[in-house]
């Protein structure tokens, strides 16, 4: 008799019920299986109606983020063997509306991300005809860590403020804003500052630090936010001084 492991998977069928429920499944236990493998097994063999997102299955697309035993994880990077001794409870990512089963609604995040202008804002008149931007390795290192974000939203699930305050822009969006602010090719810091320095843009953050703990790509969004608070505060202090650089 092959070894099995018990998965308790959250279900939400909006056309049938108003509250989520849990379905239990016995899934084969294989040492090299991750939680995503177990979910795929359930969908293939046990219950084809289970809905969830996944894609690359190797930790680079950011699709498969879910709560595993209360902690936000990439299910393609979380081994069943870590939970050998008990059941594995799989729920949709916290702090987001649930559309169905394990699928969450992310439009709010996408709106917040777009608002911080996550692209190179080039100098006036700069065009590709003038040749490529040159960047030294040191200039790259200034923002490289923040460019590793895969938009998996695990940091939003880990952050209590994201759940408590819908106006808070959130860890990933601010880290990505920093990725461009610190990029030597970018000229858009001022535009981003206008968006982010509003109440609860970045100021909702109380440096809990769970976003950095949970991030699967070591982006350190908490660090990015604190640095940005310092930048925003310095800019504000500078704006008080009559140095003739009024905007």
């Amino acid at each position: 008799m092959a070894e099995t492991i018990r998965l308790e998977v959250a279900r939400y069928r909006p056309e049938e019920e108003t509250e989520p429920t849990f379905d239990a499944f016995e899934v084969p236990f294989r040492k090299d299986w991750v939680v995503l493998d177990a979910l795929n097994y359930i969908k293939d063999k046990l219950d084809g109606t289970l809905s969830y997102r996944w894609s690359c299955r190797m930790g680079v697309c950011g699709s498969c983020g879910m709560m595993v035993n209360g902690e936000p994880k990439l299910t393609c990077a979380t081994f069943l063997s870590s939970y050998r001794s008990g059941t594995v409870r799989v729920e949709p990512l916290q702090n987001f509306p649930v559309i169905r089963d394990l699928v969450i609604e992310t439009t709010d995040f996408l709106r917040k991300l777009k608002s911080v202008k996550p692209w190179i804002v080039a100098q006036n008149g700069a065009s590709s005809q003038q040749g490529e931007f040159l960047q030294t390795p040191d200039q790259l290192n200034a923002y490289k860590q923040y460019s590793m974000c895969i938009n998996c939203l695990i940091c939003y699930a880990a952050c209590p403020v994201c759940g408590l305050d819908s106006h808070f822009v959130g860890p990933a969006a601010i880290a990505l804003a920093q990725r461009y602010n610190l990029d030597s090719r970018d000229q858009g810091s001022d535009q981003r500052l206008d968006i982010l320095s509003q109440h609860e843009g970045i100021w909702g953050c109380t440096f809990v630090g769970e976003c950095t703990q949970a991030c699967p790509k070591q982006v350190d969004p908490a660090g990015a936010i604190q640095r940005y608070k310092l930048t925003a505060a310095t800019e504000w202090l500078k704006s008080l001084l009559p140095l003739g650089s009024a905007k």
Binding site: L193, D194, H199, W203, T206, A233, L237, K247
Partner: protein, 117 residues
């Protein structure tokens, strides 16, 4: 267009207060609150304290130690109530009580130190 927000100044005060609290308060609290009352170390008497505080630098330092940590508390406590107890509807009341308290304490510190000739 920048929407005016109070948050930058409040965060600056919070940070400054945090730095002052971290650097000065542990030693002062240990000495004044534990070591001197429990006679672990000889405590300065009234005359010595007044003599120390005669210097303007000392007065300024004590003023900052009394004022900035209160703003640090006000900011942190306001967010803790806001997030911890989810009482957003009382946001203005909490703000006034917290920062108002800090301003009051600052005023008291200023008055007391000014009078200590």
């Amino acid at each position: 267009m920048r929407q005016p927000s109070n948050e930058p100044i409040l965060w600056v005060l919070f940070s400054a207060g945090g730095v002052i609290s971290a650097l000065f308060i542990p030693a002062l609290l240990f000495l004044n609150g534990l070591a001197f009352p429990m006679d672990w170390l000889p405590s300065p008497d009234h005359g010595r304290m007044v003599e120390l505080l005669r210097y303007p630098v000392a007065k300024l330092l004590v003023f900052l130690i009394c004022s900035l940590p209160l703003f640090h508390w006000a900011h942190r406590f306001r967010f803790t109530l806001y997030d911890g107890l989810q009482i957003k509807h009382l946001n203005e009341v909490i703000g006034v009580l917290c920062y108002g308290g800090a301003i009051g304490g600052t005023a008291a510190a200023g008055y007391l130190l000014w009078n200590l000739a």
